[in-house]
Symmetry: C2
Subunit: 132 residues, 2 copies
Protein backbone atom coordinates (compact mmCIF):
# COMPACT_ATOMS: atom_id res chain seq x y z
CA UNK A 1 0.00 0.00 0.00
CA UNK A 2 1.47 3.35 -0.98
CA UNK A 3 1.49 5.90 1.81
CA UNK A 4 0.02 9.33 1.31
CA UNK A 5 1.04 12.85 2.27
CA UNK A 6 -1.06 13.94 5.25
CA UNK A 7 -3.31 16.95 4.74
CA UNK A 8 -1.34 19.02 7.26
CA UNK A 9 1.80 18.52 5.19
CA UNK A 10 0.23 19.32 1.85
CA UNK A 11 0.61 23.04 2.52
CA UNK A 12 4.39 22.57 2.33
CA UNK A 13 3.98 21.33 -1.22
CA UNK A 14 1.48 24.01 -2.21
CA UNK A 15 3.67 26.91 -1.13
CA UNK A 16 6.66 27.84 -3.31
CA UNK A 17 9.09 25.89 -1.12
CA UNK A 18 12.00 23.99 -2.56
CA UNK A 19 12.18 20.25 -2.05
CA UNK A 20 15.49 18.45 -1.92
CA UNK A 21 15.23 15.36 -4.07
CA UNK A 22 17.58 12.42 -3.82
CA UNK A 23 18.38 9.96 -6.56
CA UNK A 24 21.02 7.24 -6.75
CA UNK A 25 24.02 7.27 -9.08
CA UNK A 26 24.92 4.05 -10.93
CA UNK A 27 27.18 2.94 -8.06
CA UNK A 28 24.47 3.60 -5.49
CA UNK A 29 25.92 6.89 -4.28
CA UNK A 30 23.17 9.35 -3.33
CA UNK A 31 22.85 12.63 -5.23
CA UNK A 32 20.63 15.46 -4.05
CA UNK A 33 19.33 18.59 -5.77
CA UNK A 34 16.76 21.27 -4.94
CA UNK A 35 13.66 21.14 -7.12
CA UNK A 36 10.36 22.90 -7.63
CA UNK A 37 7.69 20.75 -6.05
CA UNK A 38 3.98 20.19 -6.57
CA UNK A 39 1.43 17.57 -5.65
CA UNK A 40 -1.24 15.59 -7.42
CA UNK A 41 -3.73 15.04 -4.64
CA UNK A 42 -1.68 13.37 -1.94
CA UNK A 43 1.27 12.41 -4.14
CA UNK A 44 4.32 14.70 -4.41
CA UNK A 45 5.35 15.43 -7.99
CA UNK A 46 8.16 17.33 -9.63
CA UNK A 47 9.27 17.99 -13.18
CA UNK A 48 12.58 17.40 -14.86
CA UNK A 49 14.03 17.05 -18.36
CA UNK A 50 14.84 13.72 -19.92
CA UNK A 51 18.55 13.04 -20.01
CA UNK A 52 19.39 14.96 -16.86
CA UNK A 53 21.29 13.11 -14.14
CA UNK A 54 18.19 12.98 -11.94
CA UNK A 55 16.11 11.48 -14.71
CA UNK A 56 18.77 9.00 -15.83
CA UNK A 57 19.27 7.91 -12.24
CA UNK A 58 15.55 7.35 -11.71
CA UNK A 59 15.14 5.42 -14.96
CA UNK A 60 17.92 3.09 -13.79
CA UNK A 61 16.78 2.93 -10.15
CA UNK A 62 13.37 4.42 -9.27
CA UNK A 63 14.13 4.75 -5.57
CA UNK A 64 13.74 8.39 -4.60
CA UNK A 65 13.56 10.48 -1.46
CA UNK A 66 12.64 14.07 -0.82
CA UNK A 67 12.50 16.48 2.06
CA UNK A 68 10.94 19.91 2.31
CA UNK A 69 10.76 22.24 5.26
CA UNK A 70 8.77 25.32 6.12
CA UNK A 71 10.69 28.58 5.70
CA UNK A 72 8.68 30.00 8.61
CA UNK A 73 9.54 27.14 10.92
CA UNK A 74 12.25 24.72 9.80
CA UNK A 75 11.07 22.25 12.44
CA UNK A 76 8.01 21.71 10.31
CA UNK A 77 9.19 19.33 7.65
CA UNK A 78 8.18 16.47 5.47
CA UNK A 79 10.28 13.51 4.41
CA UNK A 80 9.18 11.01 1.81
CA UNK A 81 10.81 7.84 0.56
CA UNK A 82 9.32 6.09 -2.41
CA UNK A 83 9.53 5.15 -6.04
CA UNK A 84 9.44 7.36 -9.10
CA UNK A 85 6.82 6.98 -11.78
CA UNK A 86 7.06 8.99 -14.99
CA UNK A 87 4.28 10.83 -16.79
CA UNK A 88 4.96 12.35 -20.20
CA UNK A 89 1.47 13.64 -20.87
CA UNK A 90 1.04 17.25 -19.81
CA UNK A 91 4.67 17.59 -18.68
CA UNK A 92 5.27 20.65 -20.84
CA UNK A 93 2.23 22.40 -19.36
CA UNK A 94 3.22 21.25 -15.89
CA UNK A 95 6.63 22.97 -15.99
CA UNK A 96 4.82 26.19 -16.88
CA UNK A 97 2.46 25.67 -13.94
CA UNK A 98 5.47 25.24 -11.65
CA UNK A 99 7.28 28.19 -13.18
CA UNK A 100 4.25 30.36 -12.57
CA UNK A 101 4.22 29.23 -8.97
CA UNK A 102 7.92 29.93 -8.36
CA UNK A 103 8.81 32.66 -10.84
CA UNK A 104 5.43 34.19 -11.64
CA UNK A 105 5.79 33.52 -15.36
CA UNK A 106 5.91 30.71 -17.92
CA UNK A 107 9.04 28.58 -17.84
CA UNK A 108 11.80 30.69 -19.40
CA UNK A 109 14.54 28.07 -19.69
CA UNK A 110 13.20 25.46 -22.07
CA UNK A 111 15.97 24.26 -24.38
CA UNK A 112 15.42 23.30 -28.03
CA UNK A 113 14.31 19.67 -28.18
CA UNK A 114 14.03 19.41 -24.39
CA UNK A 115 11.56 16.76 -23.31
CA UNK A 116 9.98 17.44 -19.96
CA UNK A 117 8.67 14.68 -17.73
CA UNK A 118 6.55 14.67 -14.59
CA UNK A 119 7.99 12.53 -11.80
CA UNK A 120 5.46 11.16 -9.33
CA UNK A 121 6.97 10.21 -5.98
CA UNK A 122 4.85 7.20 -5.00
CA UNK A 123 5.48 7.14 -1.28
CA UNK A 124 6.47 4.07 0.69
CA UNK A 125 7.42 5.93 3.84
CA UNK A 126 6.16 9.36 4.90
CA UNK A 127 7.38 11.27 7.95
CA UNK A 128 5.88 14.64 8.83
CA UNK A 129 7.14 16.75 11.72
CA UNK A 130 4.71 19.42 12.81
CA UNK A 131 7.21 21.59 14.67
CA UNK A 132 8.85 21.79 18.07
CA UNK B 1 42.03 13.94 -3.63
CA UNK B 2 39.13 15.20 -1.55
CA UNK B 3 37.38 18.22 -3.01
CA UNK B 4 36.81 21.33 -0.96
CA UNK B 5 33.95 23.77 -0.53
CA UNK B 6 34.74 26.91 -2.52
CA UNK B 7 35.05 30.12 -0.52
CA UNK B 8 31.98 31.62 -2.21
CA UNK B 9 29.89 28.72 -0.93
CA UNK B 10 31.18 28.76 2.62
CA UNK B 11 28.77 31.57 3.49
CA UNK B 12 25.90 29.12 2.98
CA UNK B 13 27.36 26.96 5.73
CA UNK B 14 28.13 29.87 8.05
CA UNK B 15 24.60 31.27 7.98
CA UNK B 16 21.88 29.43 9.93
CA UNK B 17 20.63 27.59 6.85
CA UNK B 18 19.44 24.03 7.00
CA UNK B 19 21.24 21.41 4.98
CA UNK B 20 19.45 18.35 3.69
CA UNK B 21 21.61 15.33 4.40
CA UNK B 22 21.20 12.01 2.65
CA UNK B 23 22.22 8.63 4.00
CA UNK B 24 21.51 5.14 2.72
CA UNK B 25 19.29 2.59 4.43
CA UNK B 26 20.51 -1.02 4.67
CA UNK B 27 18.86 -1.88 1.35
CA UNK B 28 20.44 1.13 -0.36
CA UNK B 29 17.30 3.26 -0.26
CA UNK B 30 18.12 6.94 0.23
CA UNK B 31 16.88 8.73 3.32
CA UNK B 32 17.04 12.50 3.72
CA UNK B 33 16.66 14.79 6.73
CA UNK B 34 17.24 18.48 7.41
CA UNK B 35 20.18 19.18 9.73
CA UNK B 36 22.02 22.05 11.32
CA UNK B 37 25.21 22.56 9.35
CA UNK B 38 28.67 23.92 10.08
CA UNK B 39 32.09 23.75 8.49
CA UNK B 40 35.59 23.00 9.65
CA UNK B 41 37.60 25.10 7.23
CA UNK B 42 36.47 23.88 3.85
CA UNK B 43 34.82 20.67 5.06
CA UNK B 44 31.09 20.60 5.83
CA UNK B 45 30.27 19.10 9.24
CA UNK B 46 27.11 18.29 11.12
CA UNK B 47 26.29 16.72 14.45
CA UNK B 48 24.06 13.81 15.31
CA UNK B 49 23.49 11.32 18.13
CA UNK B 50 24.83 7.80 18.06
CA UNK B 51 22.11 5.27 17.38
CA UNK B 52 19.97 7.52 15.22
CA UNK B 53 19.05 6.25 11.77
CA UNK B 54 21.42 8.75 10.12
CA UNK B 55 24.32 7.62 12.28
CA UNK B 56 23.59 3.91 11.93
CA UNK B 57 23.29 4.32 8.18
CA UNK B 58 26.63 6.14 7.94
CA UNK B 59 28.43 3.59 10.12
CA UNK B 60 27.23 0.87 7.76
CA UNK B 61 27.80 2.86 4.57
CA UNK B 62 29.71 6.16 4.81
CA UNK B 63 28.43 7.52 1.52
CA UNK B 64 26.67 10.79 2.18
CA UNK B 65 25.29 13.73 0.24
CA UNK B 66 24.03 17.13 1.27
CA UNK B 67 22.49 20.16 -0.32
CA UNK B 68 21.90 23.62 1.07
CA UNK B 69 20.41 26.64 -0.62
CA UNK B 70 20.29 30.32 0.14
CA UNK B 71 16.98 31.51 1.60
CA UNK B 72 17.51 34.83 -0.18
CA UNK B 73 18.05 33.23 -3.55
CA UNK B 74 17.24 29.54 -3.88
CA UNK B 75 19.21 29.44 -7.13
CA UNK B 76 22.34 29.82 -5.04
CA UNK B 77 22.98 26.35 -3.78
CA UNK B 78 25.65 23.89 -2.85
CA UNK B 79 25.64 20.14 -3.39
CA UNK B 80 28.24 17.82 -1.92
CA UNK B 81 28.75 14.11 -2.31
CA UNK B 82 31.32 12.40 -0.17
CA UNK B 83 32.11 10.10 2.71
CA UNK B 84 31.37 10.51 6.38
CA UNK B 85 34.11 10.55 8.99
CA UNK B 86 33.21 10.57 12.69
CA UNK B 87 34.77 12.69 15.43
CA UNK B 88 33.81 12.02 19.03
CA UNK B 89 36.09 14.57 20.63
CA UNK B 90 34.36 17.88 21.22
CA UNK B 91 31.03 16.63 19.86
CA UNK B 92 29.13 17.67 22.99
CA UNK B 93 30.52 21.21 22.76
CA UNK B 94 29.88 21.26 19.04
CA UNK B 95 26.14 20.65 19.37
CA UNK B 96 26.02 23.62 21.75
CA UNK B 97 27.88 25.71 19.19
CA UNK B 98 25.33 24.73 16.55
CA UNK B 99 22.41 25.28 18.92
CA UNK B 100 23.69 28.76 19.65
CA UNK B 101 23.87 29.43 15.94
CA UNK B 102 20.34 28.21 15.19
CA UNK B 103 18.44 28.71 18.45
CA UNK B 104 20.53 31.33 20.23
CA UNK B 105 21.04 29.11 23.27
CA UNK B 106 22.80 25.93 24.40
CA UNK B 107 21.33 22.70 23.05
CA UNK B 108 18.09 22.12 24.96
CA UNK B 109 17.28 18.60 23.79
CA UNK B 110 20.12 16.43 25.05
CA UNK B 111 18.74 13.11 26.27
CA UNK B 112 20.21 11.20 29.24
CA UNK B 113 23.08 9.07 28.03
CA UNK B 114 22.97 10.58 24.56
CA UNK B 115 26.31 10.42 22.79
CA UNK B 116 26.85 13.15 20.25
CA UNK B 117 29.14 12.75 17.28
CA UNK B 118 30.52 15.17 14.71
CA UNK B 119 30.13 13.98 11.13
CA UNK B 120 32.66 15.35 8.66
CA UNK B 121 31.49 15.22 5.06
CA UNK B 122 34.75 14.56 3.21
CA UNK B 123 33.78 15.71 -0.25
CA UNK B 124 34.38 13.74 -3.41
CA UNK B 125 32.18 15.89 -5.61
CA UNK B 126 31.22 19.52 -5.00
CA UNK B 127 28.82 21.52 -7.12
CA UNK B 128 28.13 25.17 -6.35
CA UNK B 129 25.57 27.23 -8.24
CA UNK B 130 25.98 30.95 -7.82
CA UNK B 131 22.49 31.94 -8.92
CA UNK B 132 20.60 32.60 -12.13
Amino acid sequence: MPETIPAAAQRLLDEPNFAHVVTLMADGTPQTTPVWIDRDGDVAVFNTAKGRVKHENLVRDPRVALSVLSPDNPYVYLQVRGRAEFVDEGAREHIDKLSNKYLGKAYPSLQPGEQRVIVRVVAEDVDFHGGR
